[in-house]
């Protein structure tokens, strides 16, 4: 396993100086994951903040080959690249290991890119798909996605007199990916670099598809403070909103169990997108959110005990 000192000394594949927002979780995640790669990488990037803000003229933040092919196609494009790599390797034209990584936000992964992700996982390409999940379409102005938490106010699920933010629960994409029976699936968070890099190493080591879903705080979208990004991702884990777990060949392991599970308010309160939930008349909604999280956490523990 890599030491932090070694990881830091590696030349970054995603270079600093990009234009991601102050306090954005995505570049932290991308940087940590790519630094653990044991081989050169080729990157496919779905449309989104990462794609746009890492390639603003006349710069590119990428020290590796990088392809953006519209919103829904990162996994399908990576499929073509990886298949051709295997063909070239068979013919003896490429002899070294190359890792293929696709990055997408939750919009590009949970929603529009879901079909191409599912297809690529089923076909079994050896590639790592990383979703930086900030819970809405932040690049186009904070519209809800199927990852947006219940109750969050977005520009297309605005909290007002009639509705109190998003009315639907999040799609549990990590478990849907598990249902593809691929070798490695994990959920991670940028605050726990050790856990995240271990997971990336495992993902790069398997012979087949791997998927890591990483919670990614977004100050403009979450209406949170930039300085709170790492703190909020930690609280997401400590409230069990975002448990750290992995599924290796179908076997669930919870990587971190909070000694004292925090109430979900601790995570919701610092985020302006949930402000309306703290009105007295919305107490029931808060209760419901807590109940859902408790239920999901219990279900996950059961899965891990199998």
């Amino acid at each position: 396993m890599a030491k932090l000192k070694d990881l830091i000394q590696k030349e970054p594949i995603m270079e600093g100086g990009h234009r991601m927002c102050l306090g954005c979780g995505a570049p932290i995640i991308v940087n940590l994951i790519l630094r653990t790669s044991d081989a050169p990488v080729v990157l496919a990037n779905a449309t989104g903040c990462l794609e746009v803000a890492s390639t603003i003229f006349p710069f590119t933040a990428w020290r590796a080959p990088w392809i953006h092919s519209a919103f829904e196609n990162a996994a399908a494009t990576a499929s073509g690249i990886e298949t051709m790599y295997r063909a070239l390797r068979k013919k003896g034209k490429i002899n070294k290991k190359i890792n293929f990584v696709a990055f997408g936000g939750d919009g590009g992964t949970y929603d529009i890119g879901f079909q191409s992700l599912s297809g690529a996982l089923e076909r079994g390409h050896r590639f790592l798909y990383v979703c930086y999940d900030n819970g809405a379409y932040m690049n186009t102005g904070v519209q809800r996605s199927s990852s947006t938490p219940f109750g969050a106010s977005t520009t297309t699920s605005p909290a007002g007199v009639v509705i109190q933010g998003k009315l639907q629960k999040r799609k549990d994409l990590t478990k849907i990916v598990v249902a593809h029976n691929i070798p490695y699936v994990a959920q991670a968070s940028p605050h726990n670099w050790l856990d995240l890099t271990k997971k990336a190493e495992k993902a790069f080591s398997v012979d087949g598809p791997s998927f890591i879903n990483v919670v990614s705080p977004c100050p403009p979208g979450w209406k949170s403070e930039a300085k709170d990004t790492i703190g909020l991702s930690k609280i997401a884990v400590d409230t069990c909103f975002w448990p750290l777990y992995e599924v290796e060949n179908g076997k669930y392991t919870i990587n971190y169990k909070p000694k004292e599970k925090l109430p979900i308010d601790a995570w919701l309160k610092p985020q302006g997108r949930f402000r309306h939930l703290f009105k007295p008349e919305n107490a029931e909604l808060l209760k419901q959110i807590q109940q859902d999280i408790d239920k999901e956490w219990e279900a996950l523990q059961r899965l891990a005990s199998l």
């Binding site: 102005g141 297309t156 605005p158």
Partner: protein, 374 residues
């Protein structure tokens, strides 16, 4: 909104026009520079008793719109060029099944993702020919925030009347423009024709547009994008059925084009130079006409409010009156080819594809410096 004058953004005015026209269903997917339409709808629909759903992508959006339209709603979606590309399969389906719906395309510069926040007029042919097969659609081009409101209403009316997808083909500049918009009470609203027990996909007497039942009204409906007879039964090997259907899909628009097509003339009566323009480019063209007139040059403008069906009659007539036509557009020459096809005089192209609007002085200079006029 109450009748009166408001300062609105073009995209907001479009959403308000939809609400005024009776739109009760919106499905969409975020994409710049159109997202404000969906955001405004999301905000306004709860109080207007409309149903809004955000879909997982654009093909899902147009599919939901089709489903809602067949369930009786006036339905709309809005997108931009790349999103429209993803919708095309079911835009073809909406044409084939004669599903009334309004598709707003706030154009940005392409191809592909291109320039997400810059204006373009690059989808003129994508909306016309993007789907497979032969067909006619209707497309309207607003040049102001007021027309984002007015022509959205008109789009619904035409869509309901002719049972065809209607495109509101605008661009980033008009979509994001903020200016005065007069919200009106007194407007004409057209609703789709209803008749129980009549075939929903055949000629209705002399009328080429059949009545349209909805799911839930008790009719046993068969709706398919495959070739079908007047009752909706799949008949994919019968040459007559295919011929009759496809011919009618075109004829119902083409034979009614005089009722559909809207153009406006500015100082064309004595003009020697005619500018033909649409959308934001027509605004620059009008200013150019005024500048040229001050210089003693007899210029005039023909503004195309309707782009499809193509106003070839009025353009053909104009081309017989003027010495030259100039066609500024924010693409490498899309509508100009149609104009060349029907014109009797010289046609000059003025193309611009750098993501910036064409300015009045560019039109004037093109005419003066290149000695198109002497």
């Amino acid at each position: 909104m109450k009748a009166g004058s408001y300062l609105l953004q073009g995209n907001e005015a479009c959403a308000e026009g939809a609400i005024r026209a009776g739109c009760k269903f919106y499905a969409g997917y975020p994409i710049s520079p159109s997202s404000e339409i969906m955001e405004r709808i999301a905000n306004r629909f709860p109080e207007c008793k409309g149903a809004f759903i955000q879909m997982e992508d654009e093909i899902a959006s147009i599919s939901a719109v089709i489903g809602a339209s067949w369930t009786g709603a006036k339905a709309m979606t809005a997108t931009s060029g790349p999103g429209l590309s993803l919708m095309l399969e079911n835009i073809g389906y909406a044409i084939m099944t004669e599903t009334p719906c309004v598709i707003v395309d706030v154009q940005r510069a392409g191809p592909s993702t291109g320039q997400a926040t810059k204006p373009s007029q690059g989808d003129v042919m994508q909306i016309r020919w993007g789907a497979s097969g032969d067909y006619q659609i209707i497309a309207l081009c607003p040049w102001s925030v007021q027309e984002m409101y007015d022509l959205t209403i008109e789009s619904f009316n035409l869509s309901e009347q002719f049972r065809v997808p209607v495109f509101l083909l605008c661009d980033e500049a008009v979509g994001h423009l903020r200016e005065k918009c007069v919200i009106k009470d007194d407007i004409e609203i057209i609703n789709r024709k209803k008749a129980k027990g009549k075939p929903p996909f055949g000629q209705d007497g002399d009328d080429l547009i059949p009545p349209m039942p909805s799911f839930g009204e008790g009719e046993r409906l068969l709706v398919t994008g495959s070739t079908h007879n007047e009752w909706g039964f799949r008949k994919t090997s019968d040459p007559d059925v295919q011929m009759r259907l496809v011919k009618r899909l075109s004829d119902k628009i083409l034979l009614n084009q005089d009722k559909i097509i809207r153009t406006e003339n500015y100082l064309l009566d004595d003009a020697e130079i005619g500018i033909i323009a649409y959308g934001i480019t027509a605004r620059a063209s009008l200013k150019a006409v005024k500048i040229l007139r001050e210089k003693g040059i007899k210029a005039g403008l023909l503004r195309l409010k309707t782009l499809w069906p193509f106003p070839e009659k009025v353009i053909g007539e104009l081309s017989a009156m003027v010495k030259k036509l100039i066609v500024p557009e924010m693409n490498l020459g899309q509508i100009v080819r149609e104009i060349e096809r029907v014109s009797k005089c010289d046609v000059v192209r003025l193309s611009k594809v750098n993501g910036e609007v064409i300015t009045p002085s560019e039109i004037v200079e093109e005419l003066l410096l290149a000695k198109y006029y002497s």
